[in-house]
Symmetry: C2
């Protein structure tokens, strides 16, 4: 049976193989993705973001359990900040797989980000497409920080959860900036800790200072204790409340368009990137130019306009 | 007096302003960089890389002191993994500036990476150019992990230092991969801790397993205690030993070419990136295509070839 057919039947081995090919940028991967793509668009994408130490992984593990209790199929894409020195993501993956590996309805995949990045890998969207095609109802994407690295998860997810925990105190001042734009749901995890109610209150004050029109989603703040599961069922309910809101408001359709736009953008960028790398690697004209730059006869900023004039000859009408 | 002239005289305020403009991608910044570029190429670039907790910042603070004692002017570019939630980099910057702010020969600049990335920002090379033009003899660039995010510091630096510390134990297995290719000097910091000698020995065994030709640099392993300065003078000596080696072997000239190549590549990428974003933002043809992708009438992977054919009409001969 072909790889694509296997994936459409939910085969974990086949999906893993394609995901590896996507990460390795194997030429065949694109062909497989082309075939899979028409079967995607059904999964609901939930982003879970937060600084290290807030308990994101435990929160996701608990979310998986409540989704599974609701007979839903869950895919998880974990983008851990894994140092090449510690191999953190791989270890974490193994530990978590232990609990779920026998459960066919859950599929967890860590993307070993190259280097130390907690933002999205450029392959994240393709990974989501694979999980979607496998028939997952929910795809959870775990990232560190609401990074603007590569693509921000909040631009991809249908529901974006930002997790915090008490004990940071002052950071609430600095995080004011983007957090309310980024989050559909705010979670104060480790709710048994001192300061949890206070943090919740502060976040609610921040939210209430803003003006939301009736057709705008207003984020709520939820207390959870991922370690024992307290509050996580309520969190799941809120995710579905947000989903219903998106269906009614047309936001779900808009999110699809948004992902299509980002997907196309990424595909073009990746193509142009490879094209440029290739040109720069084997090009006498450029080699001479680079020599001139190294010798300070010209500068890279001036050289670029000359090159791009040659590189981009025609434009889209 | 013009900004460029001020920077060439080492003016910290003017340099800070240009660096801010570079980060904000202000249009004028490129013009200023064009004018500065002919005055660059003198600074020696040292990369300091390592996982969080190994004591990189303290090590750099101590290195600054020994460089200053040698009457050298030092610039530091710190690329901290700063969460938008904690604003870590900014705080760290303030603390460290306290010690050096009155000393005109030291200039420290944190790049607040957007999101959680410890790799290089795409603006790092331009930041180095500014410090170089200011007359800094040494530019230290601090990153977390030897990330392949954006550009890897080891591809930019003249001397790459990889810092470790005892206590990780098992990670030595996983780090085997890239570390020896990446490091010109290995530092075991926190040398007073148990296991420091053992870690040094293991690293030396790894090094001695490899075959180095006589014209190849063989990395050494150094024990330091950045907290009290022990071993840091020896580390500085090793940096200069490596510099002498590069001068003799022609490696310094090669590094300049390498940076010129990366700089040009980045400039082109940035240009093309902006060009594509603009095209995608305001383009009826693309809007229709995106609708088709969202509705699964076509897929982003197929659409890209159609677009790039139109986008890249001519090629460099």
């Amino acid at each position: 049976m072909k790889l694509v057919n296997k994936i459409l039947r939910g085969d974990v081995g086949a999906a893993s193989r394609l995901m590896k090919d996507i990460e390795d940028e194997a030429p065949d991967a694109t062909d497989e993705l082309k075939k899979l793509y028409p079967h995607t668009g059904k999964a609901y994408v939930v982003g879970v973001t937060g600084a290290p130490g807030v308990g994101k992984s435990t929160l996701i593990d608990t979310l998986i359990k409540v989704f599974c209790q609701g007979a839903m199929k869950v895919g998880v894409i974990a983008i851990d900040p894994s140092s090449p020195f510690t191999g953190g993501a791989i270890l974490g993956d193994r530990i978590r797989m232990k609990y779920f590996s026998k459960d066919q309805s859950v599929f967890i995949r860590s993307i070993a980000t190259r280097g130390w990045t907690g933002g999205l890998s450029k392959h994240t969207l393709s990974m989501i497409h694979v999980m979607d095609a496998m028939g997952k109802d929910i795809v959870l994407v775990e990232t560190v920080g609401s990074g603007q690295v590569e693509i921000d998860i909040t631009k991809i997810a249908d529901t974006s959860i930002v997790a915090l925990c008490p004990g940071g105190g002052d950071e609430i001042q600095t995080m004011k900036g983007g957090i309310l734009e980024a989050a559909d749901i705010l979670v104060v995890n480790k709710a048994d800790r001192e300061g949890a109610d206070d943090l919740k209150l502060k976040l609610e004050i921040m939210i209430n200072r803003r003006i939301y029109s009736p057709d705008q989603w207003k984020p709520g703040v939820f207390l959870t204790q991922a370690s024992n599961g307290a509050g996580v069922a309520e969190l799941m309910e809120e995710i579905f409340r947000h989903k219903d809101f998106l269906i009614t408001s047309g936001g779900l359709r808009a999110n699809r368009e948004k992902r299509a736009r980002i997907g196309l953008h990424e595909a073009i960028r990746s193509y142009v990137e490879n094209y440029i790398s290739e040109k720069i690697a084997n090009n006498t004209y450029l080699d001479n130019l680079i020599s001139d730059i190294a010798e300070r006869k010209t500068d890279p900023y001036s050289a670029v306009s000359e090159i791009t004039d040659k590189l981009i000859g025609t434009t889209i009408k």
